[in-house]
């Protein structure tokens, strides 16, 4: 039956597992079964580093079998619903209901409807309160778990922080309770002892008449007032897999991923990752070269990618990059370097690793004027960009990609014009090269602009997001002024960003909107061909919740924010100071130049003690 179905859907390999390095265990011989669920399609999920790490982390325990499950594409879903096939895990093909834990990774807010859909496809009730003892425990982690509230009535347990720290204790406790026939309730209560674990049912929320949160209080004596994230202190001794699952079909990133460090020293004020992963913790160059060796040998991949939030900031970057080139260039293994600062050193390096293909240069100025870049603390100047381009053009590059955001706090039309001016200045820079040296190469500048979404745990968490209409006007304004034929302008549709803005800073009431939107057919929202904006608008209306309340409202510093009970180590006072500095157009130096006393030093490691 399954064969018949698989031969009628697009890319059946999405549903069969069996990849190189897949873990095979007998489910009868383990105590705990975990279904690691990625709420997007296989090719996206398999490119995710967190999945690769946690898969082997869980499976290193002989008492645990962690399998994988991805959101079936709609053609497969249709067949599954038609034939009553419940959602299954790839390794054993067993349905999710048989598992102890169904674990979702929350990578972006607009995948939440897929979580609801996956639970439903698995025959698991969506609301936590409707799941009895016979149902798996639903857990969630990942960056979006830092504001768990929109999913607080759906997910039983949130894991706040890095999985390597508390999951062993978590599983040991579960195993012990399960062995003596204890209840789910008992386990949830025991979870209150574990660092980094948030169990939403042990907290009550009340709201003011104006819709703001009035109080958020524990309703269990053992429930902590604040749940502090847990992070790995020493990356050199932390678990990291020596192999990777190697997919049998092409995925988004088909390569060995080497995680160089966690965190970021930069402090861009719009960037949630830059704060929630603080402090920066590096792996040593020796450790990385050793890992690279095992990963390449064990996967057969012909590409290795250095991953982090800002790889150029790695202190031993040149030693690492050259070490990899020395070790692997002869074996036809290419090295992919994510966006680096463009200077003489990095251009030279790119020349070495990318052989001859001079594809494109990428810059992310994010804002069009120096003023606005100072507001967002994006430490890159126009001069640096233009010098980088000049060097690159002289070296034979001729394509430049620029990333911007519109709708940033304090933005004016002048800042929007700055986007146009910067793109034009780059074109001018190209024409400064003597004509005979250009050899007929055309210059192509691509400007991509996305819509700014204020996120929890950033200095802009209190800011109002532009409305869909405002975004449209702004994008149009940039487009109208972008007249040079060498410059191409792409922009994102604002509807999705507007919803993302509402869900990202949502509270428990937002969960009902998710549910209603899903009922109305919303899923795979970030796939433009499947995105149903109307369903969402209808959902807000039906539930009686205003999107504008979440997305477009400026909050005051003393308002209780839905995520205030989560402690990322960086203090609220620091965020308030940063917001004020933003308004004053004052930059804050990066962690290595000057400690801004954000609070992350309390974790006792990383850049704070370098």
């Amino acid at each position: 039956m399954l064969k018949e179905i698989l031969l009628q859907v697009e890319k059946p390999a999405r549903y069969i597992g069996n990849e190189i390095n897949m873990v095979v265990k007998n489910p009868e011989e383990v105590d705990v079964r975990i279904a690691f669920c990625f709420p997007d399609v296989y090719e996206v999920g398999m490119s995710h580093l967190g999945l690769q790490i946690l898969y082997y982390f869980f499976n290193r325990r002989s008492d645990t079998y962690c399998e994988r499950c991805f959101a079936p594409w709609y053609d497969m879903e249709e067949k599954m619903r038609e034939q009553n096939i419940p959602l299954f895990a790839l390794e054993t093909g067993d349905e999710l209901k048989k598992f102890d834990f169904v674990a979702f990774t929350l990578q972006y807010e607009m995948s939440y409807t897929n979580i609801l859909n996956m639970l439903d496809l698995a025959g698991i009730p969506i609301w936590a309160c409707e799941r009895g003892e016979d149902m798996p425990i639903v857990i969630a982690g990942g960056p979006c778990a830092y504001n768990p509230e929109p999913l607080a009535e759906i997910v039983d347990i949130f894991y706040i922080g890095e999985g390597e720290v508390s999951y062993d204790e978590f599983l040991d406790i579960y195993k012990e309770i399960k062995a003596r026939g204890g209840s789910k309730e008992e386990f949830l209560e025991r979870c209150l002892e574990i660092d980094g674990i948030y169990v939403p049912k042990f907290y009550d929320v009340t709201y003011k008449e104006n819709g703001e949160i009035e109080s958020f209080t524990p309703n269990h004596p053992k429930a902590k007032k604040k749940i502090k994230k847990v992070i790995v202190k020493d990356m050199n001794t932390a678990f990291y897999p020596e192999k990777q699952l190697v997919p049998l079909i092409e995925t988004v990133h088909d390569r060995v991923t080497l995680e160089v460090f966690r965190g970021c020293i930069r402090g861009c004020r719009f960037c949630q990752a830059g704060y929630v992963y603080r402090p920066v913790r590096e792996k040593s160059c020796e450790k990385l070269l050793g890992l690279a060796d095992s990963l390449i040998k064990n996967s057969g991949h012909e590409e290795i990618s250095l991953t982090s939030l800002s790889t150029g900031d790695y202190r031993e970057f040149s030693k690492l990059a050259n070490g990899l080139i020395d070790n692997y260039a002869k074996d036809s293994v290419s090295i992919s370097l994510p966006s680096l600062r463009i200077d003489a050193f990095s251009l030279d390096l790119m020349e070495k690793v990318q052989a001859v293909r001079k594809t494109g240069l990428t810059f992310a100025p994010e804002a069009g004027t120096q003023r606005l870049r100072d507001v967002i603390n994006k430490g890159i100047t126009e001069e640096e960009i233009l010098n980088g381009c000049a060097l690159a053009f002289a070296g034979g590059w001729n394509r430049v990609k620029l990333y911007f955001m519109v709708g940033l706090p304090t933005e004016t039309d002048e800042d929007l014009l700055g986007i146009v001016n910067l793109a034009n200045a780059i074109v001018e820079k190209f024409f400064e090269i003597p004509k005979e040296e250009r050899k007929g190469r055309p210059i192509a500048v691509t400007v991509s602009s996305s819509c700014f979404v204020p996120k929890p745990f950033t200095p802009f968490q209190w800011a109002a997001q532009s409305t869909v209409d405002e975004f449209m006007r702004k994008q149009k304004y940039v487009k109208t002024n972008m007249t040079r034929k060498q410059v191409k302008f792409n922009y994102h549709e604002p509807e999705l960003s507007s919803l993302e803005g509402a869900v990202a800073r949502g509270d428990r009431r937002t969960g009902k909107v998710l549910y209603r939107a899903w009922q109305l057919g919303a899923k795979f929202d970030s796939w433009s061909e499947l995105f149903k904006y109307d369903a969402w608008i209808q959902a807000f209306e039906d539930v009686g919740v205003k999107k504008e309340f979440y997305a477009n409202r400026e909050r005051s510093y003393d308002e209780i924010l839905p995520w205030d009970h989560i402690d990322i180590g960086v203090t609220k006072k620091f965020f308030i100071d940063e917001m004020e500095r933003a308004k004053a157009e004052t930059v804050t130096l990066n962690c290595r130049q000057n400690c801004a006393s954000c609070g992350a030093a309390q974790f006792g490691g990383g850049v704070c003690f370098e």
């Binding site: 064969k3 018949e4 179905i5 698989l6 031969l7 009628q8 059946p12 390999a13 549903y15 069969i16 597992g17 069996n18 990849e19 190189i20 897949m22 095979v24 190697v246 049998l248 079909i249 092409e250 040998k297 064990n298 996967s299 057969g300 991949h301 012909e302 036809s332 052989a355 001859v356």
Partner: protein, 236 residues
């Protein structure tokens, strides 16, 4: 062009179970990775985008099982055939199994240009008597004309000369059709075209996903005889 000093080997492998859902190009990519993972020193093409020197005899359609796939590889060093086989079997996923590895003469033609015929076994429910009579009819015909649409053009082809042998057997409730048909660049008959013809004759609707197809040995032709592609030189 410099002389090819690589060492050539031919692999015969099976692709069954879950692996039938992996398409031709993905299977090639899978072998590229398995070869790397196995630490086998494969030779690369010269040029801008060097690629591994590997050649499949003939693509296998998605959904079809096989116990006779052929892959030619070129190595930069001599290796023991058993060693290649064992190391690759360690590196490939379940349901891909290297059955045999032989060394080829440096001058030998690659499998893609020498393949001529393939064995197939198609299994369907019941219908033994009816299938037998259709097969008999096919074997007694001088020509079998079918309409094929290629790039929006319909043309009539005679598939009878492309059928080397065709027999029917009974396995419990199952009826099994064994076919040896032309395969490769010189002449090629797709197995589903033949099966669809038989189904039409039976008055049944042919649905590819409902039929179990297994490909067996791939053959080359040598002085009028069929020889398996993966056969030690000394037996030739």
């Amino acid at each position: 062009m410099s002389k090819n000093t690589n060492f050539k080997y031919r692999l015969e492998f099976s692709k069954t179970g879950r692996m039938i859902f992996i398409g031709h190009l993905d299977t090639l990519q899978l072998f590229h990775r398995a070869i790397k993972k196995a630490g086998i020193r494969i030779a690369y093409s010269q040029g801008f985008n060097p690629h591994q020197l590997t050649t499949f005899a003939v693509p296998l359609a998605l959904g079809v099982e096989s116990v006779g796939e052929i892959l030619d590889i070129q190595l930069v060093e001599k290796m023991d055939c058993e060693e290649i086989k064992n190391r690759l079997n360690e590196a490939t996923p379940l349901d891909i199994e290297i059955l045999q590895v032989i060394e080829l003469e440096n001058s030998s033609e690659n499998c893609a240009s020498s393949v001529r015929f393939a064995d197939y076994c198609v299994s369907l429910d019941g219908q033994y008597e009816k299938v037998s009579s259709v097969v008999q009819e096919i074997l007694e015909s001088d020509e079998i004309l079918i309409e094929r649409t290629v790039k929006k053009k319909t043309k009539t082809v005679d598939i009878r000369p492309l059928i080397k042998s065709l027999t029917v057997d009974k396995d419990g409730e199952k009826t099994e059709i064994y076919a040896n048909i032309a395969t490769g660049s010189k002449a090629n008959l797709k197995i589903d075209v033949l099966i669809e013809y038989i189904y039409n004759k039976l008055g049944l609707e042919f649905r590819f996903e409902k039929v179990d197809i297994l490909r067996g040995t791939l053959y080359t032709e040598h002085e009028g005889d069929l020889l398996p592609l993966c056969l030690e030189e000394e037996f030739m």
